[in-house]
């Protein structure tokens, strides 16, 4: 068996909203696969169908080579789940909570051991109601690992967390993978997808609009850097497109962004051109092209705008 998840033509409708509109892809064994997309793109719905928590309307889904209809409980033993947000029992301690979850699995790790992985061993005796957001999320990851899963689902595992908690969770995911586990994660942080995922499916409005490794997705832009600038008046766009090394030009409100191959050649040319148009810069930034830029290039919208 080489795929831990296989889905084809997956469709899920809520009343008259088409949340998932014919999604197909495979997640390979040992892989970390990311679903990247803005809020409301259908990521959570897709994942919850894989997790056996939601019924699909049509399409085929196989998880670890089995279907939920046939192998419900057997599958539950082999997957670990971190929901977008988990509320624990406030009065229970961290260790008690993890022990409770451990008891549901026939085989699993020692709760004390798992607490070490998520760096919560010092909080073992603390009530879950007193944990910070980052600690609670790490406990949530611990609960999904304690049953020794083959496949881990993480739904927006680091949304709203501070950078330290985020890196701790990333480290957990990486060591889980080092042990041979497969991961499906959703995120709307391109940095997270880039760092953790072998392959990424970009999802928008219930459809997969691109699927590849992060590096190849970025390479598909044809350039590695993005130059964004603002001027006091809107510039004439046409001449910008023929500047050296500029691959594409986009206008987003007052900001103009250029996808460029080499910053050191494109920027002097840009400055010259603006001078010719008698425009003063009010802002100029450059950064490496990211998955965000891929999303913007494909949809004309940003991932995190709300």
């Amino acid at each position: 068996m080489t795929d831990v998840i296989r889905c084809s033509n997956l469709v899920k409708r809520y009343d008259d909203v088409l949340a998932v509109d014919g999604i197909s892809f495979e997640v390979r064994t040992g892989e970390c696969f990311g679903l990247l997309g803005p809020n409301g793109a259908g990521k959570t719905t897709t994942v919850e169908i894989f997790e056996g928590l939601l019924e699909r309307d049509s399409g085929d889904v196989a998880v670890l080579g089995e279907t939920w209809e046939r192998a419900g409980r057997r599958l539950r033993e082999r997957i670990g789940i971190t929901l977008q947000e988990t509320k624990f029992i406030d009065k229970l301690t961290v260790l008690e909570t993890l022990t409770l979850f451990r008891s549901f699995y026939r085989e699993g790790h020692d709760p004390e051991e798992v607490l070490k992985w998520v760096e919560l061993e010092e909080k073992a005796g603390a009530r879950t109601g007193k944990l910070s957001g980052g600690q609670r999320q790490r406990l949530s990851v611990a609960c999904s690992l304690v049953g020794r899963p083959d496949l881990l689902f993480l739904d927006e595992p680091t949304t709203g967390l501070d950078p330290v908690s985020r890196r701790q969770i990333w480290a957990c995911v990486e060591s889980f993978r080092a042990g041979g586990g497969s991961v499906l994660l959703t995120t709307h942080y391109m940095e997270e997808a880039h760092r953790l995922c072998d392959r990424v499916a970009i999802i928008d409005r219930g459809r997969v609009i691109a699927l590849d490794t992060p590096t190849r997705l970025i390479a598909s832009l044809g350039a590695e850097h993005v130059v964004e600038f603002q001027t006091e008046r809107p510039p004439d766009i046409r001449p910008l497109e023929s500047l050296p090394d500029v691959r594409s030009v986009r206008v987003d409100g007052e900001t103009v962004s250029l996808t460029v191959a080499e910053v050191h050649r494109a920027v002097p040319a840009l400055l010259l051109e603006l001078k010719r148009q008698q425009l003063d810069l009010t802002n100029l930034v450059t950064h490496h092209a990211t998955l965000e830029d891929v999303f913007v290039a494909m949809t004309g919208r940003r991932l995190e705008e709300d």
Partner: protein, 346 residues
Amino acid sequence: MRLLRYVPVWQISLTKIRELVREPEALFWVFVFPILLALALGIAFRSSGPEEIAIGVQTGDAAAEIERALQRAEGVRSVVLDPDEARERLRTGRVALVVIPGDPPTYWYDPTRQESEASRRVVDDALQREAGRTDVFVAETQEMTEKGSRYIDFLIPGLLGMNIMGTGMWGIGFYIVTARQNKLLKRLVATPMRRSEFLLGQIFGRLFLLVFEVGILVLLANLIFDVPVRGSLVTLGFVSVLGAMTFAGMGLLVASRAKTVEGVSGLMNLVLMPMWILSGVFFSTSRFPEVMQPVVQALPLTALNDALREVMLDGASLFSILDEVALTAVWGVATFVVALLVFRWR
């Protein structure tokens, strides 16, 4: 304990117990409140012998003589009042009857009041004797004050039943809806936990609590008010456990589909309120008219209260309360089955 560490039902029961023990407010409602209620009602309705009857005498020619005659009668407190004051006190029940002097005197009272007839008889006796009537004989009296027949004896089993109902329904129903609302239930369903294990754990956790809840109330009632437990403790325990499971089933049913805590609270009160009133917690079910009796007697709390009273006060054996036990059990099984069929796990 080590052996039980990874047994789901044990862990779920343990969770429930820990949650309760670590929640002081919950402890208050389960343990302290019923005792305070019993104390307050026990003191308010303590047996203090027959009360004095307050009688008014309206001002008039013979008012003073009538008042003197009443003073001599036993258990009567009399006072002379002008007509307006007499009317006012009679209306508000501060006097049970007003004597209007005359020949013959007039007795003025509200016939719908309980104490009216007794006071009419006492006043009439006193005035007739004063006027020269002699009694043919004076009967001996023998007083009965056996425990088990007082109001507090009636009340304690009722409070016990009410408490079993309340904690059973809230403890299960409220808990489940909260867990559903904050997605904990969804997270649990995403594990291999069996649903039956979850529900059994809820009930076992609940039964553990019951031991203390029933034990403390019965013990304190016995120590403070001398309320008897004439039946066997085993029978009392059995009836309590049965009641707790029945109301856990009802709690489960009430919570089976409710999505919000507000929603389930309303439903819960809709079920609890009628039983507080109809099922003989504070006063006997026989006070309700004949047409209501089939409904009143079919309620699970009525059956539970009757069974508890018969065991505690009459020393009934399990065999003699079979009807009540069967009715309670039927309610429990029926609500549990329906709850399982319609239960929404997410």
